[in-house]
Assembly symmetry: C2
Homo-oligomer: 484 residues x 2
């Protein structure tokens, strides 16, 4: 806020009776008393709670202004804080001046004072942060992101910006989006067409059709794509500047319209030299617990809201996660547990099969009733870069499973032995020559190392109790949807 404005969260916490303040924000509701004054519930986004502004008829311009003060409009008010006689708030503002800054038509404003469905709000992603739920999500998302940095920076990790546009293919991670300057009309051409049309009245020329995409003439000289993981590049920093982490957008071109898939999401990927799998698990556990404890401490009001309005179990689930040491369970043990329950599964359980969400949630929510870390997965279902155990059958992978969400972290110790890594690339159909630089990390001063990935949105589902991943990212990208 400019110096002359006070933040409502601060006023509600520490504002003193008698203080002269100016506030500015958006009107949530207005109530007129019969005694000739009005109550405005004012929100400035700094917290969920509103400041009650009492506007007396004696305020200059009251009569003309107040009738335009509808839900959604913006105002500025100056006056004096007073202890509130109402039970709902500690203090309120008695306005001496009231300025209507921006109107909002009472009929047209899409966010009327009623509950709107999340589906409806997704259609107006530009306005939904003005609601209680999405305001709270925005604040928690921001705080959790900061907590990510605090966690790693306080441990001396280096934040690395791995590339978004890449010609690598971190095999096993799904479909990739192509990044190209071919086939599209450029902005200059578009503007020229528009100008031509404006001056001559003739329609703009069509693009010359491309018979095929020849990536050798493309901007990067070969096919480039959006990253699906910064891991491989992060390994170059872990093996030079030490423990590091990425935190950036990641992409999947999977044509999945589900409440758990996004085409664009934010991921955190730490990578640590000299870490082996048990060190990796320990860091992952500390990390999850740090993020939860931080949100409970720093977003108390918003977390309370989620517990009341979104999922009445969310606080209990989070506290339970904090209180338990995550149990380490080998994949083989996990499969034994699943096969011995006698339950009917939608997807078959058997050694060598991937664990599905139903299996993961059964293990963490019903069998162990606490967070668990499943480790040592079958080599045949995991990517080439994971460290091969001596049994010849398993790799040092680990997944963290938590009640309420299921898998929240996936990680592994990396294969740091050059010969074994090359063998695994052949085994999985990759060409080692394309990964020459990645192999260099094993040629020159190789070290055991490990890392993991956490999807920020999945963490937010856990923290907020929200059910649809499109609701915990500001502008979700999904098939047929990158509108705004």
């Amino acid at each position: 806020m400019p110096a002359q404005h006070s933040r409502i969260d601060q006023l509600l916490k520490v504002g003193q009776d008698g203080a002269a303040v100016t506030v500015a924000g958006w009107v949530r509701t207005r109530r007129d008393s019969k005694q000739g004054f009005s109550f405005i519930e004012l929100n400035d986004g700094s917290c969920m709670a509103n400041l009650q502004v009492v506007v007396d008829a004696a305020v200059p311009g009251y009569a003309e202004t107040i009738k335009q003060v509808h839900t959604g409009c913006s105002i500025r008010a100056a006056g004096e804080l007073k202890a509130s006689p109402g039970a709902k708030q500690r203090i309120e503002l008695h306005a001496r001046t009231l300025d209507l800054v921006g109107v909002a038509d009472a009929e047209a404003y899409p966010l009327q004072k009623k509950r709107h469905s999340f589906e409806f709000l997704r259609e107006i992603a530009h306005l939904r942060p003005r609601t209680n739920t999405f305001g709270a999500i925005a604040r928690v998302r921001s705080r959790v992101s900061y907590a990510v940095h605090n966690f790693f920076q306080s441990r001396g990790f280096v934040y690395v910006h791995t590339p978004i546009i890449t010609t690598n293919d971190c095999e096993g991670a799904g479909e990739m989006f192509t990044v190209t300057t071919l086939g599209g009309e450029s902005k200059v051409e578009r503007r020229e067409s528009r100008e031509q049309q404006a001056t001559t009245g003739s329609p703009p020329a069509l693009n010359s059709p491309l018979s095929t995409l020849d990536y050798s003439t493309d901007f990067f000289g070969k096919r480039a794509a959006l990253t699906v993981s910064g891991q491989l590049e992060a390994e170059t920093y872990a093996t030079s500047v030490g423990p590091c982490y990425t935190f950036g957008p990641t992409f999947r071109a999977e044509n999945s319209n589900t409440p758990r898939h996004l085409a664009e999401f934010w991921m955190i990927e730490p990578e640590m030299p000299f870490y082996e799998l048990p060190d990796d698990m320990e860091l992952a556990e500390s990390f999850i617990k740090h993020l939860i404890a931080d949100a409970l401490e720093n977003c108390a009001e918003d977390m309370q809201f989620f517990n009341e309005r979104i999922d009445t179990n969310v606080l209990a689930t989070l506290k339970s996660i904090l209180e338990h040491e995550f149990k380490r369970v080998s994949y083989t043990e996990a499969v034994d547990i699943l096969t011995s329950t006698g339950r009917e599964w939608e997807y078959p359980v058997g050694w060598g099969q991937n664990l599905q969400a139903e299996h993961e949630r059964f293990l963490t929510e019903q069998h162990f009733k606490q967070p668990i870390i499943v480790y040592d997965y079958p080599r045949s279902i995991k990517p080439f870069y994971m460290f091969c155990n001596e049994d010849g059958k398993t790799v040092r992978a680990m997944d963290v499973l938590v009640p309420g969400v299921g898998e929240i972290i996936g990680g592994s110790q990396r294969e740091h032995r050059l010969d074994m890594l090359i063998a695994r690339m052949h085994e999985t159909g990759l060409n080692p020559e394309e990964y020459w630089w990645y192999l260099d990390l094993r040629r020159y001063g190789t070290v055991p190392h490990a890392g993991f990935g956490l999807g920020l949105e999945r963490m937010l589902l856990l923290l907020t109790g929200m059910q649809n991943i499109r609701d915990v990212i500001p502008f979700p990208r999904t098939p047929k949807n990158a509108e705004f």
Copy 2:
């Protein structure tokens, strides 16, 4: 580091004579004394300085191991810290055990103990963070990124992840990359081709050629591109949850091969409701000063290195920036100064022309000899979203210019008046219907607001004295270059 390892930066600072420690890292050099012991300079990336490890012939396996300990190899050493008799270090490690973790062939290792050109190091971007210069850049980049978050979070700003894939076009910002799933072979197809080839020996089938790109069948159902700015979307959060900021990757498909251009870079864009241009300038000045002061305080060793090896003026420049209040100079005054110098310019100076780098650097480096903020630019050379002044000729734009780099921040107060914004869209050839959601912010509770953008890499050029922007980002993307 796993619990059993000590970080070298900590040992060098506070390690006590007599302490038993284990360290692990990469060998920078080895020297053998004639008395039958060796000195290893060990670096673990936690700081620029190395730990001197003294390995006596009595250490188990000395004879076989030590001859393999070359520059670039990784080792683990355990022993006792001792006050060092040498002047170069306070303490050193007397090893009791020495493990060679990963070899590095003495001849093949690309980073021999000599100076390498930055051009050469760009070819091995996966190894260059093992050098002093690029290790220092990595640490400073990480710290500055953290300082960005600290600055805004401590002021109650909300961190917003604006979308990377967008169908908007923040007009005026240059060429955009298309994001598509058309025209490219999918991973599954590629793997199938490879398998087919492996089993049948026949070459993989070619893609069916595309006669044109029909974006209606594309993943997002229309042409999507990589963002050039998160500003417009950030405005939706500034006008709901209050002051906010973005910090994420940004893209330009400009075919520019210069030391100042990247196709992919990281940008910070704060956006503040109820801020007008003077508030915006004040925040920009505080922000720059915060980042500089933070780096000087928290990266002292690395900053000293830049001053000694990269640019002997860099510390003086930074301290001078801290000491001056940034001078506010209107565009009109700036043009008057430039035209009255009598200098010959490569680009002509005149009211209504953009200021070029040569003009900006003259103003800040030679005329004012301090940071300046140029404001109120001609309306005709600025984008549609900037607030129009009453003179009908200028908009409330501002650029921060600093010695050493020139323009480092660009910002503006935004046009928040619906009718004026629509008029400006027509004036600049935009279709208001395509920006319906952006106009909604002016339809419903509009407020004056302002923001600015800082390119992280440009800030790093200022902080480090480096000359080529490709050297301050881990994996630079430029025309024909997205190799790894």
